[in-house]
């Protein structure tokens, strides 16, 4: 099915990439994430600041109404008073500005003349200050895609937020290690027309970022958000897509969702909207066998319900694979009421709720056969918030698709996250002086722009004799700079080095070996040892495997343990002679082809200890001697 056909779809990308600087954006803490036990925890609350007109941003109010408080975890040696919002920010990190300007110029953008840091209000607790510091670095750029030019609207340099560790009904726990890591935010214009194109553009921008050699790699270091709008639908922002290959799926599923919501709009247009009445039906379930309800009632919880006239079957309408209209409503109930989910009569009796209970319920609400009853379970206030949110969501269904922020699920479907924020609430960060970008600085950066992906791939093919595939892989990989280093300093064949990184490492990874934790110095030493003939290239895999299983040990230990001490070649020749003599008949019959047949036998003895090529040459010489004689 080509879902995007015949319908105008406009897609914009927002890419967030962490920079690999030595210091954070507004303090001198290292940019490292930690999993060891935090050294301290503090507790904070946030509240929206009223504006001149007494108005409060809808998104900000939404967070405040949850009335959550926040715990922040920190480390004495890598989190300072700046992340704790206990000291004013330091001046903006120069290295980050240089990287941002480099990327901006590679995206054909116009840098601002003077950088001003702003405060963008965010009160979900992910920033201790209650705002994210962000600065516009450049605008009005473009990149070329095979289906046309894509405009790059904006490049901002901002601080990453704190990392969410856990959440309960009352509070959220964040870790401060990530807060303040420099982040580049690149926004494209809404010029992308389909999911595949979105993936290509994201990949291209990602490669430009990587070409600086100054961006972090690995899970969570780059995040893609999508802005999608469809003719007749609404603009929806989808956050947290971790993998590029998911982008086309997310786009297709979102188009599907919006089309299905429009279909539901037509289905319900003649049905009366909810009357807003909320019924307490706890009594009906006083002796229920439904575990969820039973447990909740035991904890002084309630069961509240609303009646939807004529809605029978509507909540079962599928919107995305395995997601129904009922699921959309449940999302709202979860987010606004903090309840676990919803029950509705389209799917009852089930979950231990009995036929008689459903009948009693219908009787109590005076429901007719083509009606639907939605129930939630929990503390009374939570239930009311949840049902009111559901009522609001159903009211929106009569109009069509609500404009909102959604989070991507792992399968490419999405769930409601929060309402769309109003125009960004921003005001100047007066604690940080503006930074002037001079022409000299720009000229200096222009003169030193990094190689693009394409030119680096063709250089690797030309200079190192790599195939296109291998060159692309190694340029895309985090090993591209160590690869060039080793190629320049050793005599090892570049293709072997590249394929070790791209193929051997991947194979070891499949075996469950943590190849990312290999020390760069050890990898370097490994190839220098091959280069110096300390062992044969065939032994590389075994050595890597041994090193992974013997953390803290070095190459010398591996050579010893695997008894890879180099073999005297005269011994090899002696063995070759011996094998040849035992196979004279065969050699005379097969001619030079015999060498290949005999290789297996001799390799059994010397694999990994002597380079296969050398063994072959010696064996072949001995075979030829027999043939000549």
């Amino acid at each position: 099915m080509n879902i995007g056909d015949k319908m105008e779809v406009r897609i914009g990308l927002e890419i967030h990439q962490q920079l690999d600087t030595s210091k954070k954006l507004f303090c001198n803490c290292p940019t490292i994430l930690r999993d060891d036990e935090p050294h301290f925890t503090i507790m904070r609350m946030l509240r929206p600041v009223a504006s001149e007109l007494g108005e409060i941003d809808q998104a900000a109010l939404f967070e405040f109404e949850k009335k959550k408080y926040f715990y922040y975890q920190g480390y004495y040696d890598s989190v300072c008073l700046v992340e704790l919002d206990e000291e004013p920010p330091h001046e903006i990190n120069k290295e980050s500005v240089m990287i941002s300007l480099t990327v901006a110029l590679m995206l054909n953008m116009i840098p601002v003349d003077e950088i001003h840091v702003m405060r963008k209000i965010v009160i979900d607790g992910s920033n201790t200050t209650g705002f994210q510091r962000t600065a516009k670095i450049a605008f009005n750029g473009w990149i070329d895609d095979e289906d046309g030019r894509i405009s790059i609207k904006s490049l901002c340099l901002e601080e990453d937020s704190a990392r969410k560790i856990s959440e309960t009904e009352d509070y959220i726990v964040y870790r401060l290690d990530r807060l303040g890591i420099p982040l580049i935010e690149i926004t494209t214009g809404p010029d992308i027309r389909n999911g595949e194109q979105a993936r290509r553009v994201a990949l291209k921008i990602g490669r430009i970022l990587q070409s600086t050699g100054k961006v972090k790699r690995g899970i969570g270091t780059i995040r893609q958000d999508l802005n999608i709008s469809i003719e007749g639908g609404a603009r929806v922002e989808i956050k947290g897509i971790q993998e590029l290959k998911l982008i086309p799926i997310v786009v297709d599923y979102e188009i599907m969702r919006q089309k299905n919501l429009l279909k539901i709009r037509d289905l319900i247009k003649n049905k009366p909207p909810p009357d807003g009445k909320i019924y307490d039906v706890t009594e009906v379930f006083s002796s229920t066998e439904c575990k969820i309800i039973k447990k909740s009632i035991q904890n002084n919880g309630k069961v509240l319900a609303i009646l939807l006239k004529g809605f029978k079957g509507i909540l079962k309408e599928e919107i995305q694979p395995n997601r129904r209209f009922g699921t959309e409503l449940a999302d709202y109930a979860k987010v606004y009421g903090g309840v676990g989910g919803i029950f509705h009569t389209d799917e009852l009796p089930a979950y231990g709720i009995k036929e008689e209970e459903v009948e009693q319920l219908k009787k109590k609400l005076k429901a007719e056969d083509n009606d639907c009853i939605v129930m939630v379970v929990g503390k009374e206030e939570a239930c009311r918030n949840a049902l009111n949110a559901i009522i609001r969501r159903i009211e929106q269904a009569y109009i069509g698709v609500p404009s909102e922020v959604r989070a991507a699920n792992l399968d490419g479907t999405t769930r409601f996250m929060r309402p769309m924020p109003g125009a960004a609430r921003m005001y100047p960060e007066t604690d940080i002086p503006p930074m002037v970008i001079t022409e000299e600085l720009l000229n200096q950066i222009k003169a030193n722009l990094p190689e693009t992906f394409e030119s680096k791939v063709s250089r690797f093919m030309k200079e190192y004799g790599l195939s296109y595939d291998l060159a692309s892989l190694i340029v895309d990989s985090p090993y591209s700079s160590i690869f060039e280093d080793i190629v320049k300093k050793s005599k090892v064949n570049p293709s072997l080095i590249a394929s070790t990184f791209e193929y051997t490492f991947k194979m070891l990874k499949r075996e469950g070996i943590d190849v990312d934790s290999f020390d760069k110095n050890i990898i370097y030493e490994l190839f220098m040892s091959v280069s110096n003939g300390r062992f044969a290239k065939e032994a590389i895999t075994d050595i890597l495997r041994w090193l992974a299983n013997n953390k803290g040990k070095g190459i010398d230990d591996a050579i010893k343990a695997l008894s890879l001490t180099p073999v005297d070649l005269t011994e090899v020749r002696k063995k070759a002679k011996e094998i040849v003599e035992n196979n004279i008949e065969m050699i005379k019959r097969e001619g030079e082809k015999a060498t290949k047949k005999l290789m297996g036998e001799i390799m059994k003895i010397y694999r990994g200890k002597v380079d296969g090529k050398i063994i072959y040459d010696i064996l072949n010489e001995e075979v030829l001697k027999v043939l000549k004689s």
């Binding site: 507790m43 946030l46 007109l53 950088i115 200050t129």
Partner: protein, 439 residues
């Protein structure tokens, strides 16, 4: 902070350019530069900026600086900016019969409003503003507000202390349940000491409150501090001058420090204020006040003694301190010198002749310690004993800043040498304790 933003800030070449095209701050303008065309609102410029750039807020909310050298053309636009839908916050109806609390504001921005269009931050000081900013206040007290000054606290002088004391008296006479004074944090400790001495036989609590993070940010400590200060003004059983601030970096516990015992001990942390050499007045967690004895109970008739003698200085002893400092003070007929001495209360012997001469010239000389923690004892070493014999008054376990304020206050009460000494060494408002408690 807000004054920086409100300041026009433009000067020199940038200002000339703005004049040339007749555009003003807050105007929506179009700017054509060599590189591109921009639309946005002309923003004020911080005074630390140069005169070679103008700042505009573009439509996505960001401020950017444009070099005036690249600007080819500018014009004022009259188009309307689309307003985004917003939620208007309503002020809740006050509960009837709430206790009355007066909030006297002297500066600092304990509550703020932001104009997101221009980014300007302005103080929220009316009662209505405060109910809006901190709706919970509406359940605690019926507040009235007065803007007495709008001063950065480093600009506060003893005359302001006097004015504050008179304003407090006015409200106490009107029968309020308690008083809250909002204050910049830099010199809040000095003011707290000054009010402690000025307001004799205080019938209700007077709570000074400030914030270490400006109130224009959602993480500001101002809200919790102010709310708790109002709560304390209503509920506290003590009638003393206190400074209420965070107990730690967390937004959970607050401490009310006794006005004569409190010192700002950190440049930026929320818990910068500490009680020195004593216990605080109270600890507040949620709606519980834990009070520490002894303290003055509510009630009684206020007696105002709010005069201060300005001719008093505080001098910190350091290795190599020039003796001429004292000559200047003697020649200019100063009335009091508080020495922040080393250790138990010492100073280098080469300045002894100057100290002796100061005392002979009628100057009251008091010794405190730069250790901040601990009590003066000038009997242990000979230098101390020599200073005592010259007539230097040991300030016991008083903070140097409190000793300074107290000497200003004492010297405004009396000229009699004996009375000065007696009054200075009498515990007036919890500033001196007989026992140095271990804690």
């Amino acid at each position: 902070m807000w004054c920086i933003i409100m300041n026009i800030g433009y000067r020199g070449k940038a200002l000339e350019l703005l004049k040339k095209y007749d555009v003003n701050i807050g105007d929506r303008i179009l700017v054509k530069t060599k590189k591109a065309i921009f639309k946005g609102i002309l923003m004020p410029r911080s005074e630390i900026g140069d005169d070679l750039h103008i700042v505009i807020k573009i439509d996505d909310g960001y401020n950017i600086g444009l070099s005036i050298d690249s600007i080819e053309y500018m014009e004022k636009l009259l188009e309307k900016v689309e307003e985004t839908p917003h939620v208007i916050q309503k002020v809740k109806e006050l509960l009837p019969n709430l206790p009355k609390v007066s909030i006297i504001s002297t500066g600092g921005t304990i509550a703020s409003k932001i104009d997101y269009r221009t980014g300007a931050v302005s103080p929220a000081l009316t009662a209505e503003d405060l109910y809006k900013a901190i709706p919970e206040i509406g359940e605690i007290a019926n507040i009235r507000t007065e803007i007495l000054f709008n001063l950065l606290s480093e600009n506060i002088v003893p005359e302001h202390w006097t004015a504050m004391a008179y304003a407090i008296k006015k409200y106490i006479d009107e029968g309020v349940e308690g008083i809250v004074v909002t204050h910049g944090t830099d010199t809040m400790g000095y003011t707290a000491a000054a009010l402690s001495f000025s307001l004799r036989n205080l019938p209700v609590p007077v709570i000074l409150v400030g914030s270490q993070r400006s109130s224009d940010r959602p993480s500001s400590d101002a809200y919790l501090n102010l709310k708790s200060a109002i709560f304390t003004a209503v509920k506290a059983p003590f009638a003393e001058v206190g400074v209420l601030m965070h107990a730690s970096s967390s937004d959970d516990e607050l401490i009310v420090h006794r006005g004569t015992r409190v010192r700002k001990m950190h440049t930026s942390r929320r818990d910068a204020f500490k009680t020195i050499n004593s216990k605080p007045l109270a600890k507040i967690i949620g709606d519980k006040i834990e009070v520490y004895e002894p303290y003055k109970r509510r009630g009684g008739e206020l007696e105002l003694k709010a005069k201060f003698d300005n001719k008093v200085v505080l001098i910190k002893i350091f290795p190599g301190i020039p003796i001429e400092i004292f000559d200047f003070l003697i020649e200019n007929k100063y009335h009091g010198i508080v020495i922040e001495g080393t250790g138990l209360g010492h100073a280098p012997e080469y300045i002894f002749p100057a100290i002796k001469r100061a005392i002979e010239n009628g100057i009251t000389v008091v010794m405190t310690s730069q250790c901040i923690y601990g009590r003066i004892n000038m009997n242990v070493y000979s230098t101390g004993r020599m200073l005592l014999s010259m007539g230097v008054i040991p300030a016991e376990d008083m903070l140097p800043e409190t000793a300074l304020v107290k000497l200003m206050w004492v010297l405004a009460q009396t000229n009699d040498k004996e009375e000065i000494r007696n009054l200075f060494l009498t515990n007036i408002s919890g500033e001196i304790s007989e026992r140095s408690e271990y804690w």
